[in-house]
């Protein structure tokens, strides 16, 4: 072998097509602790550990066969006394003396190997940390979505509860409590801005007879249908509430006496003409408009007196409160 190659500061080996060692320079032999005659002619497997043998056969050999070269692969070579030296090798196929040979140059890389191993460990740790961070983030996003969903549900439940508190279960109309609150609000608006409003009290005629004749389920159905009718005939701002057993009350927003009478008559006529199942009913109405000095009790009392008049005058009629100033 050329002396330059033999003594060069890197390892050189040459394999034949079958993987047997054809040549090895002095530097390489010294690094491995072998004499020339101990290795020349032997298969390279002689100086490879089992793991390296697998690597040689599954990677190094086919790569060389198919691509003609391998670059910078790390291989561990066994010394005579069984130590493993990590080495970096580049090798290429060549034709020489009429046969195919593999020339390989090798450099020991003990320090670099340690360095690379450390980097690999650090990289893995980083990957793990990133993964954990991503998982935590995803969990947070999920929790946040859950929270929002729960909040929405809470608001919805709240609304439902509120509605329940102010609704009459049987008819779906507002209940008395809501009526009282609304009445107070109407008075406030009237006092503050002078917006007039009227009150109607509506009572089903001979309702007791309906219950006695047809039974309470039918009676309940009549109440439901009447409530529905009243709502249909009302404007959005009006409040239709169940005031008592067979009594309903309507707060007519922004309504003076004439409007109140018109509305009352509309309700009365509709009730007279509408089927309430297999029967018909009539209603009596008492109307009053809020006037200066009125309070909730006084207004209700006047409407109530008017209602009484409707009843005594023959029912199925509208009476406006007599002692109304507005």
């Amino acid at each position: 072998m050329d002396e330059l190659l033999n003594g060069a500061p890197c390892g050189y080996l040459c394999l034949n097509g079958a993987g047997e060692i054809r040549e090895m320079n002095r530097t390489m032999l010294r690094a491995l602790g072998f004499e020339r005659e101990e290795l020349i002619g032997r298969h390279i497997e002689t100086i490879l550990t089992a793991a390296n043998r697998i690597f040689y056969h599954t990677y190094f050999y086919p790569m060389l066969q198919l691509n003609g070269q391998v670059n910078e692969i790390y291989l561990g070579l066994k010394t005579k006394d069984g130590q493993e030296i990590p080495m970096l090798m580049s090798a290429a196929r060549a034709e020489r003396d009429g046969e195919t040979v593999i020339d390989g140059f090798l450099l020991p890389m003990k320090q670099r190997i340690d360095h690379e191993r450390d980097m690999l460990v650090a990289a893995k740790k980083l990957e793990e940390l990133n993964r954990a961070k991503d998982e935590a983030h995803e969990a947070l996003v999920r929790l946040h979505a859950e929270l929002e969903e729960k909040q929405e549900k809470l608001v919805a439940v709240n609304h439902a509860l509120e509605a329940q508190a102010y609704t009459d279960g049987l008819t779906g109309a507002w209940n008395r409590r809501h009526f009282e609150t609304s009445l107070a609000a109407s008075f406030a608006t009237y006092e503050r801005a002078g917006v007039p409003f009227s009150l109607l009290l509506l009572d089903i005629d001979f309702f007791k007879k309906v219950n006695d004749t047809y039974g309470h389920p039918i009676g309940d159905e009549v109440l439901r249908r009447l409530a529905k009718l009243l709502r249909e005939q009302s404007r959005d701002n009006d409040i239709v509430a169940r005031y008592g057993g067979e009594e309903f009350v309507v707060i007519l927003a922004n309504a003076d006496r004439d409007a109140a009478v018109q509305a009352a008559e509309r309700y009365r006529l509709a009730a007279e003409r509408t089927d309430m199942g297999d029967l018909r009913i009539t209603i009596s109405v008492g109307a009053a408009t809020a006037g200066w000095g009125d309070t909730a009790p006084t207004l209700i009392a006047r409407a109530d007196q008017a209602l009484y008049r409707s009843k005594t005058d023959g029912r199925n009629r509208v009476t406006f409160a007599q002692d109304n100033v507005g």
């Binding site: 599954t58 198919l66 691509n67």
Partner: protein
């Protein structure tokens, strides 16, 4: 979805003939390993070659850890390819772990292949002493996995090589290296684990199709003891000892390999 499988597994079909012969690469490589042997069959057979998902020029994005973490996932590739190509009574040639992958597929659907040809295959690489000699112990395999990690760039590069007519075309190979995501080393590692921790011994008895076991002289990956074991446990098997040494007779000794396969198919 049929076009999907063809692209997914980079299926190449050449030759013409009534019978089909499928060449399946082994661990650490791709279909280009058949470059010297497969063309020898094109005159008489429809020749099919492919890359497993995660190897060669297959669609690496189709790789799923839970599927390809074991041999069954790779066998599924074979089954899906067989379905798309409507294979029946075809010939399966598998190198290394593909021998077992083909056996797996054949057990699942015996009508697919009429013959199984295994080159350098092993049902289990780990020793199970005193009765079974696989050739390696666990520290060897761990050592291999460690080496793969250290070499991963090169390994990933290898898993999708461009056939370089001129080995000095460095620029092409650089392009390919850059196109790899960091998931490639994972795929390689998992394939290695699936291969080297495989124990297919119990399944061998379920293969019903005749098989040829090509046993290389001095193959340290699939030593003679393993070839003998396969022969003893595969029904209807023929042992074909080779003069070729090493683990890649189809690369190092393509003529002998071709000759032995032909002779077997003719019988």
């Amino acid at each position: 979805m049929t076009t999907g499988i063809r692209d997914r597994n980079n299926i190449k079909i050449t030759g013409e003939g009534e019978r089909t012969i499928v060449f399946a690469h082994g661990f650490g490589c791709d279909q280009t390993m058949w470059r010297y042997v497969a063309p020898q069959f094109e005159r008489d057979y429809r020749v099919v070659m492919f890359d497993y998902v995660g190897s060669g020029r297959s669609d690496h994005s189709a790789y799923r850890e839970d599927r390809y973490g074991s041999i069954s996932g790779y066998a599924q590739d074979v089954l899906e390819i067989a379905e798309v190509l409507k294979l029946r009574d075809a010939i399966f040639v598998g190198h290394s772990v593909s021998g077992m992958i083909g056996a797996f597929a054949s057990i699942e659907k015996p009508e697919l292949f009429s013959r199984l040809i295994m080159i350098g295959s092993s049902p289990r690489y780990l020793n199970d002493l005193p009765d079974y000699f696989g050739g390696f112990d666990e520290s060897d395999i761990r050592g291999l996995l460690g080496m793969m990690e250290m070499n991963f760039m090169g390994w990933a590069n290898y898993l999708a090589p461009i056939v370089l007519n001129n080995p000095n075309r460095g620029d092409l190979s650089n392009e390919l290296e850059q196109s790899f995501s960091s998931s490639e080393p994972k795929i390689a590692r998992q394939f290695a684990e699936a291969t080297f921790f495989l124990d297919f011994r119990e399944q061998l008895g379920r293969v019903t199709v005749p098989s040829l076991i090509l046993q290389c002289a001095e193959d340290s990956i699939a030593p003679k003891e393993v070839g003998d074991y396969l022969h003893a446990h595969l029904n209807n098997s023929t042992l074909g000892p080779m003069q070729a040494k090493g683990h890649y007779p189809h690369l190092s000794h393509p003529e002998e390999t071709t000759r032995l396969i032909r002779a077997y198919l003719a019988s």
